[in-house]
Symmetry: C2
DNA sequence: GTGAAAGCGCTAACAA
DNA sequence: TTGTTAGCGCTTTCAC
């Protein structure tokens, strides 16, 4: 390569990286020609070793097959590619954190930082912390001040959802919540609890904890239905669970929203196409991705305690009882 | 590190990799202790440079936010992690191939191979081919014998879907197809054409090409509806388009399957939770992922022309008119 | 069974 | 303006 152009490798480097030293035009031409002729491409691995920077970030997701995480991943891939970054995806697929430790460590040495969506175990985070790998968590409400985070105000967001149901006059609002171990699920539950004013007995009767999956939502909803408690509305902790819930409701012969109003959480694309379209609390996915990525690379993430709260949005569709008269499609 | 244990770096390597040279037990102990004490983790980048092997594969997807691709990515992540591989995701987000060239080349130098789901441009493939990066395509029916591929038999699969609609007695079967540029869309259309026996005029009247997205399906279906052609069934080229179609049908006051039977393609999770649940042609995603990954690493992919055809499956649910009496949930 | 040293492909300090 | 060279952290041949 350098030989063909008759220059040293240093000059090739200067040309390819446009610096840090100047190169005469004639030399540059020769180098460029040689690059073209040999279809030369710099080796990213060697570059990374030398620079101690891989231009790659890790993205830790609970399950890339879940649309909410998929849409998040897309947003992050978009932002990353704008600045020439690659993204290494790690799918925790709900496994215990310990199993991942070896992988994590391996990955920690080949990424410039890690973005973690959703629930992440403390031990996972510790791996990155001790490895000195910058990281920021996304959508993980936590008061732990050492943890850089970008998230909506989970409590207020969920509260907005339940309050909206109350504005519609509903009083028997059941909760189809997320797994008890997940912080977001706890926050959303607390909001529901405060809004409804249910006491312990009523709360237990009117709520269920289910997995963040369609099946989880389906089974959770059936469990709720089989209890015989009377409720006229359902607040669901995630869109994906709502898909299962709508199915269960339909099978039970219950109409939404006439018999039961529904509001769910996240605002993924599919929530606009369900039957009926779901009224949701939407998280600003693209914005969160951009902010998190910037935070990660500016290494502000090292300054502990950066918590960026982004605005949520109540999106009114049919499932809460709004008329669709003025709608013109999703 | 090596210093602490009082050994050379070579021995550390022997211990960490359990070879290729033997190490005495006492020495091993000392090394292990030092590793523990220093929380040492080998640098994956340096390792990759030396071995010329990154233990990372690239995954090229059209849009990671689309559930079908998300589920595919999940399956591939699963297989990859079993053998200690990391996965670098590249989202083409429907951009022209040329824009990606720089990225591709960069990536080509940091992965051991590339898996491409769905449509991939020839020029994209050329980048990897000239870089000597092994690759295999997934779900890309192509007679090009130089291209290693894992896919269902698109024609037969689609044919099975349309034939099933005909078995139900439908004769006016419309097609909500994919983009004309996509090979799979062409194949599925041909199957529909042969099964229905439509001539050019009828075919044009009864079909539409739409983007592989919910909105694409929604708009495509509305276009079909507004044409005034009479049809009693709809064959949809993908689940995600079917979601949009179901929405459009509902808004038009058409009941599925009473007024219009629907069968779609892919068999993602969401197809089991729509209203009504969709009868689909399912692609064996997990199997395809495993086969493709194996193919990629065994470098059989270098032997041109490996086409592995995997079985598709007709999954009967309600949208085609089957009774749901015997169903017990998704 | 272990150490010394070369070298993977690149960048950047230093020399010229 | 350009060339020479050290070294990023690892593996592995070769010598002992």
């Amino acid at each position: 390569m350098a030989d063909l152009a008759g220059v040293s490798t240093a000059v090739v480097s200067y040309v390819v990286n446009a610096g840090p030293r100047p190169v005469s035009n004639t030399t540059r031409e020769r180098v460029l020609a040689a690059i073209e002729a040999l279809d030369y491409h710099p080796n990213a691995v060697a570059r990374a070793l030398r620079l101690q920077r891989t231009k790659t970030v890790g993205l830790l997701v609970p399950d890339i097959g879940v649309p909410f995480y998929g849409e998040f991943a897309r947003a992050i891939l978009d932002t990353a590619s704008e600045t020439g970054y690659s993204v290494l995806i790690l799918d925790a697929h709900h496994e215990p954190a310990l199993e991942l430790q070896p992988v994590q460590a391996q990955v920690a040495s080949q990424v410039d930082g890690v973005l973690a969506i959703g629930e992440v175990s403390e031990t996972d985070l510790t791996v990155f912390q001790t490895a000195g790998t910058p990281f920021v968590t996304l959508g993980r409400p936590d008061d732990d001040p050492t943890m850089p985070t970008v998230a909506i105000d989970e409590y207020r967001a969920a509260r907005a959802g339940v309050d909206h149901l109350m504005d519609h006059g509903h009083r028997g609002i059941a909760l189809l919540g997320g797994p008890e171990a997940e912080t977001v699920a706890t926050r959303r539950r607390q909001a529901w609890l405060d809004a409804t004013g249910f006491g312990p007995r009523q709360a237990a009767l009117h709520s269920v904890a289910a997995a963040f999956s369609r099946r989880g939502g389906y089974e959770g909803c059936r469990a709720l239905l089989s209890r015989g408690a009377r409720f006229d509305a359902l607040f669901v902790a995630s869109d994906i669970q709502a898909m299962g819930a709508l199915r269960a409701l339909a099978e039970a012969g219950l109409r939404t929203p006439q018999d039961l109003a529904v509001v769910s959480f996240d605002g993924t694309e599919e929530s606009a196409y369900s039957h009926p379209p779901l009224t949701v609390i939407r998280q600003p996915i693209a914005l969160m991705a951009t902010l998190a990525f910037d935070l990660l690379l500016r290494k502000e993430s090292r300054e502990a305690g950066i918590h960026r709260i982004v605005p949520h949005e109540l999106v009114l569709r049919e499932s809460c009882g709004h008329s669709s008269a003025d709608r013109s499609g999703p």
